[in-house]
């Protein structure tokens, strides 16, 4: 197989890639200026996503031979980081889309219908959403109640989804369900549902503290289609090998972007204070020095996580192991904790000017968005999973060095 999500560029050159440059430009010129209204009106960041479409970024992960850019996970992580600096909502929608694409790229190559879909995704720059949670399973995405019902070469499924982010703006939705009506709750598959063949009936609204622009309403989803759209591999494998590690690396990347912008505001604030009284170091400067070192830790953590996943990407032994699951869980826990810590420290530095909504140093939206990181897949659930791994996993003391 040719390069699929493989590391293609070194970290030093990644920011110079034309596609990453395009993401930085979209962040600066489009996503940033729109961020306030996206947040205030809890509306979909349409202009940002349209700009990504125009730049072809929605098929960044699709292999070159299918018409895509054939970029690596690390390249897309850099784009998430870039967008996250300007508008966390745009970055989150972009990241969630790329997570679905990664699942197709890595698990749909042997399925002609999925390969054909990927070509269409490139041509039409289709936006993919996902419906993995279900009413009645208590947030456990590895359990489904609804089932794929096959009749001949057609399938049908009905799912009560408590959230489907930007469902109404999407072109397709990846839906998890039990393999068949007689399958157990954990015997799941993931199905590619064309929105044109799905009926969405809203069951809840989305008026939240942060990440307001992801428009994560709940729906009853009734779908049908060609049974060839069911990914043949068990969802358990798609999840552990691709969906979960891609989600955790791309989410932490956009949180890193958000944190970087918060620190940027604190830096700008301290510089402005210093200019007012040349010769005296502003009182917050030492706090800023501390903050910059915390941000450096966060950066290293995220970039290391991306690199570790890229290295393990084609090694099923590693990917299906508990050590890797623990590492990816830890990445999500650390990232979602550090982003709040960093935004909070930046707020303390900017003081009342960070607290205000109407100041150039405002951190209100950053703070509200950052708080969502620990809740979207609740950290307690992830800690529960990690703690059960730790009941059996042995520490490898020989794993020293970079």
């Amino acid at each position: 197989m040719t390069s699929v999500l493989e590391p293609s560029t070194s970290r030093a050159r990644r920011a110079d890639l034309p596609s990453v440059q395009a993401a930085l430009r979209i962040a600066r010129e489009i996503a940033g200026p729109a961020a306030k209204s996206v947040d205030e009106e809890a509306r979909f960041p349409r202009e940002s996503i349209d700009a990504c479409r125009e730049a072809g970024l929605l098929s960044a992960l699709v292999p070159v031979e299918l018409g895509g850019m054939g970029l690596s996970l690390g390249d897309v992580a850099a784009m998430c980081e870039a967008l996250g600096q300007a508008c966390a909502n745009s970055a989150m929608v972009f990241a969630m889309h790329q997570i679905q694409v990664a699942c197709l790229v890595r698990h749909g190559r042997e399925t002609p219908a999925i390969v054909e879909y990927m070509r269409r995704l490139v041509r039409e720059q289709r936006l993919m959403a996902s419906a993995t949670t279900e009413v009645g399973v208590g947030g456990d995405v590895r359990t489904s109640l609804c089932a794929v019902e096959r009749t001949g070469d057609r399938f049908r499924l009905v799912k009560q989804a408590p959230v489907i982010s930007y469902a109404l703006e999407s072109d397709d939705i990846m839906v998890t369900a039990r393999r068949a009506p007689d399958a157990s709750n954990s015997d799941q598959v993931i199905v590619l549902v064309d929105r044109a063949n799905a009926r969405l009936t809203p069951i809840s609204t989305w008026d939240t503290l942060g990440f307001r622009g992801t428009c994560s309403l709940g729906f009853t989803l009734e779908a049908e289609g060609d049974a060839a759209a069911v990914i043949p591999q068990p969802y358990a494998e798609v999840s552990s090998r691709t969906m979960l590690p891609t989600a955790h690396t791309l989410w932490t990347s956009l949180w890193l972007g958000l944190a970087t912008d918060a620190v940027g505001r604190a830096r700008a604030y301290i510089r402005a204070e210093a200019r007012k009284k040349p010769g005296t170091v502003p009182p917050g400067a030492a706090r800023l020095a501390e903050l910059v070192s915390v941000l450096a830790t966060f950066r290293s953590t995220v970039h290391d996580g991306v690199r570790r996943y890229e290295e393990a990407m084609h090694d099923d032994e590693v990917l299906s192991g508990m050590a890797f699951a623990l590492r990816m869980n830890s990445l999500k826990i650390s990232g979602s904790t550090l982003v709040v810590d960093i935004v909070h420290r930046a707020l303390m530095i900017c003081g009342i000017n960070g607290y205000r909504n109407d100041s150039p140093y405002t951190l209100a939206r950053h703070y509200r968005d950052a708080l969502g990181a620990a809740l979207m897949v609740n950290n307690d659930r992830i800690l529960g999973n990690s703690s059960s791994i730790l009941l059996v996993q042995k520490d490898d003391a020989s794993d020293v060095g970079a």
Partner: protein, 81 residues
């Protein structure tokens, strides 16, 4: 003679079907084995056979079938002997 692997599965596997109905090569995940239950199953096997599963065996394939579990336990007990 009872099979300690099947006994542990019955007790901790939380399968959707009775263990007696499963062959050694049947897919335990399709029978409803969750990753959480697989951890408990491993703890029970470690206790029953007085072994520790090394990290290289802490993967999905080890728990896919009764045959795989038997092979893993067999390898660990013969190494300990």
């Amino acid at each position: 003679m009872t099979d300690p692997i099947r006994t542990a599965l019955q007790q901790f596997g939380r399968l959707a079907v009775p263990v007696e109905t499963l062959g050694d090569a049947d897919d335990l995940y399709q029978a409803g084995l969750s990753s959480h239950a697989s951890v408990n199953l491993m703890l029970a096997l470690e206790e029953a056979f007085n072994v520790e599963f090394p990290d290289r065996l802490l993967k999905r394939a080890t728990f896919q079938t009764i045959a795989n579990l038997r092979a893993a336990v067999g390898e660990l007990t013969s190494a300990a002997a």
